[in-house]
Amino acid sequence: MDKFDTLTGIAAPMPMVNIDTDMIIPKQFLKTIKRSGLGVNLFDEMRYDREGNEIADFVLNQPQYREAEILVAGDNFGCGSSREHAPWAIKDFGIRCVIAPSYADIFYNNCFKNGILPIVLPQEQVDLLMKDAEKGSNARMTIDLEAQTVTSSDGDVFSFEVDSFKKHCLMNGLDDIGLTMEKAASIDSFEKQAAEARPWV
């Protein structure tokens, strides 16, 4: 998993509440064999018309937000199904951090498994950051996971909470597999001993 320590980037404003996983990635894209490649279908039904043409006013279609790496959104982001395709699509588009007042639980956890930092801040602070994001590509925000802060383009600093274990995993790029790999020595020695005890395996 990609490490997350600090990120300075463009933030796209999506001032909607209840952005659900069907909006994030509609079900016709679940038959894929990949986790990658879903970025072009991120927010598909909001982003394209029936003919597949871009809808010009959708935020990620606007020139100043095409390179967005941060999403600022309304309450209850990621509600709906448990599909891991939702964080896969967000990540594949290039977004590494979401800022919202709250998240659906499964989505929140899925983010950490996929190298995405979901930040929870009080509504008033999200509102301020939403305004900041609306300034476009010149307004870059900075996320510092170590310090647990978001700094707006004007230099306002907001602190956020995050579970220390999840923070540790994200900062070190560790997923379950990464964590298990930290125990590689145990696996190596088990394998050696097993190969002697049961060589036919």
């Binding site: 064999i33 986790r35 379950d176 145990s186 049961r198």
Partner: protein, 469 residues
């Protein structure tokens, strides 16, 4: 002296590579079986993170869920595009990561849970995983076999371990002898009927008792296959001479001195006298009848001599569930099960797609014809089962009776390939799940043994196989 251990305890203890303070373990995996549906994202994950398959020599892949079973399947056009992409991805992943692979064109191809034991990949005392819940099948060898999800598939590919906490021990004992016409399928369905689909939740089941010992390896695989339908994490049967005889000479079984060493070890794989089980269920072999499901859960099972129950025969949440089930199944309470007319017969799947199953069905069919207007198909569990059935003349019996004789795959066990039930179609099926839509949108499934399926094909309704013997 150390305290007595169950078979599960012994296999577990022999595979713990690391244990954390909270009891979370890394369980070392001896065999990882892979199929095309649950693996693509896992391989993709390895690529994205620059990881490799830690033990490709312990990883075996075979496409089965999506593949058509018609004789023209070499023609790629028989597959839908989604399916073809998944199968092609498995081809490529197997090649890129250097894992053992049985492509669709290989005579050894078949359902992953039939191919594993057949090729000698599954052996006593091993840990076996696959991204498929019916991995429990391999427990018939006294192997600890778990189904896992896609992220765990990736975890096993990368680390050859699984993060696990130990389950509890449950014993299911089937005493005495089975009556004529009663099979392994009836045992395993009756157990679920007794314990319910959640009765095994949190447990690893060890099946034992005279009726289990008397089963062939094929029958034992049928029993363990459906352990998952009873909610258990895995099902196990202690290995014995039958197990050793089955394994001997298989392509990937040990040979020579290694065989001797393995045998010595395998003979230690049994539950010690006095070992503790957290739950015990006992059934008498002679009480088990040829069984059939009437609803949309594997626990909705009754002897073929019974009648369709009414919702009011149940309690709690099951009342509504049964009403919904009967509506879905188009059945009226009080109807004798043996009067339910069917349209389709499916013999196959990892539950009942082995040679012994085909023999049992052919024995009933011999000299009979499939009732007019019915659709009947036999789908051998592997190319090798198919070849053997042809050699034994079973294929001719099926064909003469009017069955379609197909190529190996999961086929009508699940609606993921072209073999599906039409809306409202009613099927006597030797598979393992009668969920709504499992065999096709609005299709109706009655789970039965191979002999019962053959009997139903002849009469056009659910039939007590004992009347045909």
């Amino acid at each position: 002296m150390s305290s007595p251990k169950t078979l599960y305890d012994k296999i577990w203890d022999a595979h713990v590579a690391h244990e954390a303070e909270d009891g979370t373990c890394l369980l070392y995996i001896d065999r990882h079986l892979v199929h095309e549906v649950t693996s693509p994202q896992a391989f993709e994950g390895l690529r994205m993170t620059g990881r490799t398959v830690r033990a490709p020599e312990k990883t075996i892949a075979v496409p089965d869920h999506n593949v058509p079973t018609t004789l023209d399947r070499a023609n790629a056009a028989t597959m839908t595009e989604d399916s073809r992409i998944q199968v092609d991805a498995l081809d490529k992943n197997a090649k890129d990561f250097g894992i053992h692979y049985y492509p669709v064109s290989d005579v050894r191809q078949g359902i992953v849970h039939i191919v594993g034991p057949e090729q000698g990949w599954t052996l006593p005392g091993m840990t076996v995983v696959c991204g498929d819940s019916h991995t429990a099948t391999h427990g018939a060898f006294g192997a600890l076999a778990h189904g896992i999800g896609t992220s765990e598939v990736e975890h096993v590919l990368a680390t050859q371990t699984l993060i696990q906490k130990k389950s509890k021990n449950m014993k299911v004992e089937i005493t005495g002898k089975l009556r004529p016409g009663v099979t392994a399928k009836d045992i395993t369905m009756s157990v679920i009927g007794e314990t319910g689909t959640a009765g095994g939740t949190g447990y690893v089941i060890e099946y034992c008792g005279e009726a289990i010992r008397d089963l062939s390896m094929e029958g034992r695989m049928t029993v363990c296959n459906m352990a998952i339908e009873g909610g258990a994490r895995a099902g196990l049967i202690a290995p014995d001479q039958k197990t050793f005889d089955y394994c001997m000479g298989r392509p990937h079984a040990p040979k020579g001195a290694q065989w001797e060493a393995a045998l010595t070890y395998w003979k230690t794989l049994f539950t010690d006298e006095g070992a503790h089980f957290d739950k015990v269920v006992t059934l008498k072999g002679e009480d088990i009848a040829p069984s059939v499901t009437w609803g949309t859960s594997p626990e909705d099972v009754l002897p073929i001599t019974a009648k369709v129950p009414a919702p009011s025969d149940f309690e709690g949440g099951k009342v509504d569930a049964v009403a919904r089930s009967l509506d879905y199944m188009g059945l009226k309470p009080g109807t004798p099960l043996s009067e339910i007319e069917i349209d389709t017969v499916f013999i196959g799947s990892c539950t009942n797609g082995r040679i012994e199953d085909l023999r049992a069905a052919a024995a009933i069919l011999k000299g009979h014809k499939v009732k007019d207007g019915m659709r009947a198909m036999v789908v051998p569990g592997s190319g090798l089962v198919r070849a053997q059935a042809e050699e034994e003349g079973l294929a001719d019996i099926f064909k003469e009776a009017g069955f379609e004789w197909r190529l190996a795959g999961c086929s009508m066990c699940l609606a993921m390939n072209p073999d599906q039930l039409a809306e409202g179609e009613r099927c006597a099926s030797t598979s393992n799940r009668n969920f709504e839509g499992r065999q096709g949108y609005k299709g109706r499934t009655h789970l039965v043994s191979p002999g019962m399926a053959a009997a139903a094909a002849i009469t056009g309704k659910l039939t007590d196989v004992r009347e045909m013997m």
